[in-house]
């Protein structure tokens, strides 16, 4: 909580230094950033997992918009396609089949001390993180000229399939392992006639 106050103070100081209010990109950034924050807060505060998941979708889509603002057009589309389209659908599917109970009691009912310590730790970490983040790029802005086609399929593809080829292949193997693992974990043990149901 204290981190939020601190951050808003730091944010506003960053705002003062940047007198760029007439800039549409700045406005788009603020709008999308606000939506992302709103979605994030909703995700961690909603009691119903379905509503939390939908707030998370809001954050993910808003982040996709931010990627667009930051000239990562292919990544923006991937963000919406993979995160909002696939990962979140997976989440919602599990929510649908798992939780028929309505919401946990929110707040600090159980394990109060532990949670308070945890939150304090988050506050400290957040404060430090924000301090670093808000000072590190002091003066610079993301408005520098870019080579044409920065962040589109062609340039990013060239990058991934040359510099990042090995990590890319490793990730594809990782995905395969994850699929096999997911199937192996959720498969019911063969009990008589029982056949796993996907």
């Amino acid at each position: 909580m204290s981190s939020a106050l601190m951050s808003s103070a730091l944010m506003s100081s960053a705002l003062m230094s940047s007198a760029m209010w007439s800039n549409p990109v700045q406005w788009a950034f603020w709008l999308l950033g606000g939506l992302a924050l709103l979605g994030a807060l909703g995700t961690v505060t909603r009691r119903s997992p379905v509503q939390a998941a939908l707030f998370l979708v809001l954050t993910l889509v808003a982040t996709g918009g931010l990627f667009l603002v930051l000239h990562a057009s292919f990544l923006a589309a991937m963000q919406v396609l993979v995160y909002a389209g696939a990962v979140m659908v997976l989440f919602l599917f599990v929510v649908m089949s798992v939780s028929h109970t309505e919401g946990e009691t929110l707040g600090l009912a159980q394990g109060t001390v532990g949670k308070l310590i945890g939150l304090a730790a988050v506050g400290v970490l957040g404060h430090q993180l924000l301090r670093v983040c808000l000072t590190v790029g002091d003066g610079t802005s993301v408005g520098a000229a870019l080579p044409g086609g920065f962040g589109d399929v062609r340039s990013l593809g060239r990058w991934i399939f040359s510099r990042y080829l090995l990590p890319f292949e490793a990730i594809s193997v990782l995905l395969l392992v994850a699929i096999v693992a997911a199937v192996a974990i959720t498969r019911r043990p063969p009990r008589g006639r029982a056949e796993g149901e996907g």
Partner: protein, 327 residues
């Protein structure tokens, strides 16, 4: 360059184009409903709507007026925010999707170099609306319908995307306009008949239409995920469904059938070719619906995972090898 989306050259033109597209979506929905009723009637040796307007053409307009005038009932136990948001969330991605296509050589709102990916991303958002409708309705039939719809959509999205990739390889672009321009000599359906077949089957399943209409199987689930919706909210789902059909047919026409390109010796404008192909494909979809019986859920799933996806992967690999060898 990406920011043209946010700040187009003339805001007025964009607003105007948006209005025209919305009008087209509404008109297209009404037309397709009328067409479906006529086609189904002919398949069952009936006449279909005949009373309102010539050949019943105004029947859909009458239905719209009826739906508009209907009372909006909100059941008591629904999850209100989800219930109210769902029809909008189903409809908006569809509307955005239809604005991406090149209807003619110079008739396109904005040509994204990732147009194809964008289309699939928008389609992914549509599932969320279906899910919200099913969950928010707090009704077992709606929930079952939504669950089936989501499972089916995940399963069939994979062959759908895999089937479009050979075209991307051949055209060397994901921009919808450039894909069309790459088909001046030869439509891609000639080089990729298997991909087209996979795409079309998966597309029929994606739009939840018979023989894959398990999410709204009337005999089992009342009406599936939109059981609890009435009046205009129901109409939104209906409209989204028919517009979705149109979109998948537009993708098929763009990727495989040469989009706005027709035989050059015919003095016919490009957009006529485009819409002609789209509506021809839509007729085929209706034909399928009124010919085949509905599949069982396990048949549906094993067909996607056991037949379509392996076939699509093999096709993609073969295409890649062939391109490497012959180009």
């Amino acid at each position: 360059m990406t920011l043209h989306v946010l700040w187009p050259n003339t805001a007025l033109m964009t607003v105007l184009a948006g209005a025209v597209l919305m009008a087209y979506v509404a008109f297209n929905g009404m037309l397709l409903v009328w067409l479906e009723r006529k086609v189904s009637a002919r398949f069952q040796r009936r006449l279909g709507p005949t009373e309102v307007g010539w050949a019943g053409l105004l029947q859909s307009a009458a239905d719209v007026i009826k739906l508009l005038a209907k009372q909006l009932i909100t059941p008591r136990h629904v999850d209100r925010p989800l219930y109210h948001l769902a029809p909008v969330l189903v409809f908006v991605p569809v509307l955005a999707g239809i604005s991406l296509f090149p209807f003619d050589r110079h008739l396109q709102l904005h040509d994204f170099n990732i147009g194809l990916v964008l289309l699939f991303a928008l389609a992914g958002l549509g599932f969320l609306g279906i899910f919200m409708a099913g969950w928010g309705s707090n009704n077992k039939y709606a929930l079952l319908g939504a669950m089936r719809a989501v499972a089916q959509n995940i399963a069939y999205e994979i062959p759908l995307i895999l089937a479009t990739l050979p075209v991307v390889l051949l055209a060397r672009t994901m921009s919808l306009r450039e894909v069309v321009e790459a088909q001046h000599q030869l439509w891609f359906i000639v080089q990729q008949p298997v991909a087209f077949a996979i795409y079309f089957i998966a597309a029929v399943a994606e739009t939840n239409r018979a023989p894959f209409d398990i999410p709204e199987a009337e005999s089992e689930l009342v009406a599936g995920f939109h059981t609890e919706y009435s009046g205009m909210r129901f109409a939104f789902f209906f409209l989204a469904e028919y517009t979705n059909m149109t979109i998948v047919c537009m993708i098929a026409a763009t990727l495989f059938l040469g989009g706005y390109i027709g035989p050059s010796w015919l003095p016919v404008p490009g957009w006529v070719w485009f819409f002609g192909k789209v509506y021809l494909l839509l007729l085929v979809m209706m034909w399928l619906r009124w010919t085949f019986p509905r599949l069982r859920f396990d048949q549906l799933m094993s067909f996607a995972w056991g037949v379509l996806i392996p076939l699509a992967i093999v096709n993609l690999l073969l295409t890649a090898v062939a391109i490497k060898v012959w180009r």
